[in-house]
Symmetry: C5
Subunit: 83 residues, 5 copies
């Protein structure tokens, strides 16, 4: 899993059905790479979270056939990027 | 998921059957990397989209055994690459 | 999916059974990275092709349990690497 | 599989159910990249371990639907990063 | 698939059951990146091999639930890294 910070939400009116009513968050890695993840946890901007990718990402959603390859797994209680 | 921009379409007369009649789009990441994705949404050149990779990419297609590892999940209403 | 150019074939007398009688091609990305892919299409050296990776790569083979994580999906009619 | 060193544990009070009671360890690759992995082996800080990613990571857990894409596979008896 | 060279074996007394009695080899890519792979073929140090990753890696093992995301697929008869 990777550690990323929540930087915002994504609005997509036109999208495939497989995403049902999932919230889409914009995340940024410590190297600045931007990703989009499904949020089953309920995060806020600024939270440091860990994410699961690949087929595990689908198991984290209520519907395991959800069209996601990246899902937020949890909010880290305390994290400083410089470790 | 990743965020990319649609830059064109791909024409491949000779291809494996598993792609049926999917449209193939050429996408570019903000770092300039070129990818090919299946388009179940109906995008136009210039649209900013998010994509799903891995096994999730197949679930986004009408036929879940489609030979794709990258599928367009939706058109982003508003996106500026500099965030 | 990625776009690569066919640069040759790979000969492996000693290999696992899961590859049956698949042709193995050596491919190169526009950045020079070398990959090996199964070829269900019948390509020639110099062709520009697109490839599928992950579990989708296995669905493109006659035997979906083939030991491949990269399969050639089709020959691109016209492609110039500088786009 | 990759070789990484254990540098600590991760505490996440708010996380998806799919992680049950798995221990989450923070690992670092020889290039300094930080990852989070599930630990079914019982490692200590400083151990060099190898990890499995993708769907294999889930099979290493007691519950194969665990939400992990990286799992510690074992502790390496002797490893020096400079090889 | 990727092409790598065998540089040694890995000894892990403490490891998850999912690896049964698989041999673990240490491989190096032409760029110097170190990986660990399961060896169902029986390679020697110095051999150039191709590897399969992801779910395909598990199909190459006698037990398809083996905890591996990288498996040696075969020994290349002749390979020079400069191509």
């Amino acid at each position: 899993m990777e550690i990323m910070q929540v930087v915002g939400s994504l609005v997509c009116t036109q999208r495939v059905a497989g995403l049902d009513h999932c919230y889409l968050r914009v995340l940024r890695t410590s190297k600045g790479k931007i990703n989009v993840a499904v949020d089953p946890v309920g995060v806020s901007v600024g939270n440091w979270v860990f994410t699961a990718s690949g087929s595990a990402a689908r198991f984290a959603c209520p519907n395991p056939e959800a069209l996601t390859d990246l899902t937020i797994g949890g909010i880290i209680d305390f994290w400083s990027p410089d470790g």
